[in-house]
Subunit: 212 residues, 3 copies
């Protein structure tokens, strides 16, 4: 990841942890709706939290994975899944879903920036770098939905999500080619992505539909 | 890919572009049937067009991917998806579907040959090379159907498709071991695969069913 | 794999072949229930038999795959699928299903041990090694169910399966860190995993459910 000033480093870590928790919880909630067992809840939580970054690393042929370098996050997500099963009940689902929208939006931006950054370091063309950013941010949710036997909501719900990460990714690429400092590109990408996503959620925007 | 005479090179490029467009369109049509949003249409189009070759390269541990080396194809498929959303309407679907059968059959043969060739270059055993050819030709469609929450039609519709690529793949392997020139093996593989497929479509052939 | 005394080597090979056949048959049966065609039956059989190990090798970036090194197993599974289509009929399905439970339980233990061993050789942290063991044993079935458009039964049926491999994997890790001989760790992992699984099948145990 790009270097950022020290207090910024702490902020980034906090966002990253909150976002990973939000992604994992989105998996846990979907698994609960589909009445999966304890194993299924944990697996879907893991997939939602780490699936996007893992798929990007597979495609870019990068090892070790994030969760191999930071095994404690693995334990953290496992603990989160178990705690959710112990304490979360149906009436809390809607509240949880609304609460995780915000760390999720921030995480979308942060993960997209991470993906773009890593691809650019490997000399990938700009459009591939943006794709890698999008995959990092979005494909955790896609894998979650595929395992739960649903059409991925990111492809179906007509609300801007992937598109926000796509635009944010281009912001990162442009800043990179302008030789902007890493932390600035990161902040710009997160602000644009999360800002667009927040706007979409707030104003209930939808993508133009294909009038078949 | 094997060396081919120059005019052959041009022919191959034309077939490759037509086939990629046909594969992408098959994704676009399925996405439309499932009422995906604009993001879903593009992603499924990409998966159908590039999924098979990407999976083969992942399994063979080859990088960079085709769409990383030729970024313009990426833009081309994106443009195709957007154009389809702008101009394609329900009444055109059946016509499109029938029209793309032929470039699709040619592409099946070409992609199978590419996959077999690449695996043979890496000293893979013959049967693995044939499998890689089949994966290159067929698994784009498989991934398309999985994301659209369908059982892959290649596994379900009892019409010879994978089988044609399998036979064509063996043709390529045999020619290779006979030290035939690359372009001849390529042409033979494409002719056999596309010929068998065309025959199956034309005579409406089906595979023998498992009488449970 | 760890070195084992010669007669043990033969025993291991027998278990491995029986387990691979059991995994493949589980795929064939599911494909039959979903009324796939001959191609689908073979593909799902392959996925169930080799999917877990292949996914592990992809994640660990190991090549060549098991089925590239031992091409005869590929032919064996293909023959098994074709034989099943020729001779297996609906009335045999339940018997087959009950019969393959036992080699399946042994195979779960053996494949988990293989996965853990390979990850430990690559200096992976303990928890990652156990995950790799679980993936080796369980994800063949997961891929089988995803292709057949079902929520993976390993995540849904509330019966201990993945959990057995998880515990067995930790047994292997502990023995490894105690510098126990390889064959002892292997036998312990298989006994614990298969024993727990057999107990669960025999007593019809279920995992505690999440009371939403």
């Amino acid at each position: 990841m790009p270097t950022v000033p020290t207090w910024g480093e702490t902020a980034r870590l906090l966002v990253e942890l909150a976002a990973t928790a939000a992604f994992a919880l989105s998996g846990v909630l979907e698994a609960a709706r589909k009445r999966l067992d304890a194993v299924g809840v944990c697996v879907v939580g893991f997939l939602a939290a780490f699936g996007g970054g893992t798929l990007r690393d597979l495609l870019l042929d990068q090892r070790p994975f994030f969760w191999v370098r930071h095994v404690d996050v693995l334990w953290g997500v496992l603990a989160l899944c178990l705690l959710a099963m112990l304490f979360l009940r149906r009436p809390h689902f809607d509240v949880t879903e609304r609460a995780i929208q915000w760390p999720d939006a921030l995480g979308l931006g942060l993960f997209a920036a991470t993906g773009v950054h890593q691809a650019l370091l490997l000399q990938m063309p700009s459009v591939v770098a943006v794709l890698m950013g999008v995959i990092t941010g979005v494909f955790g949710g896609v894998l979650r939905d595929i395992v739960c036997n649903e059409i991925p909501s990111a492809f179906k719900d007509h609300r801007p999500y992937t598109v926000c990460a796509f635009i944010g990714g281009w912001v990162y690429v442009v800043m990179w080619h302008l030789n902007a400092p890493g932390w600035l590109a990161l902040v710009a990408c997160v602000c644009v992505t999360a800002g667009l996503r927040a706007l979409a959620v707030w104003r209930n925007l939808t993508l133009p539909a294909w009038r078949i």
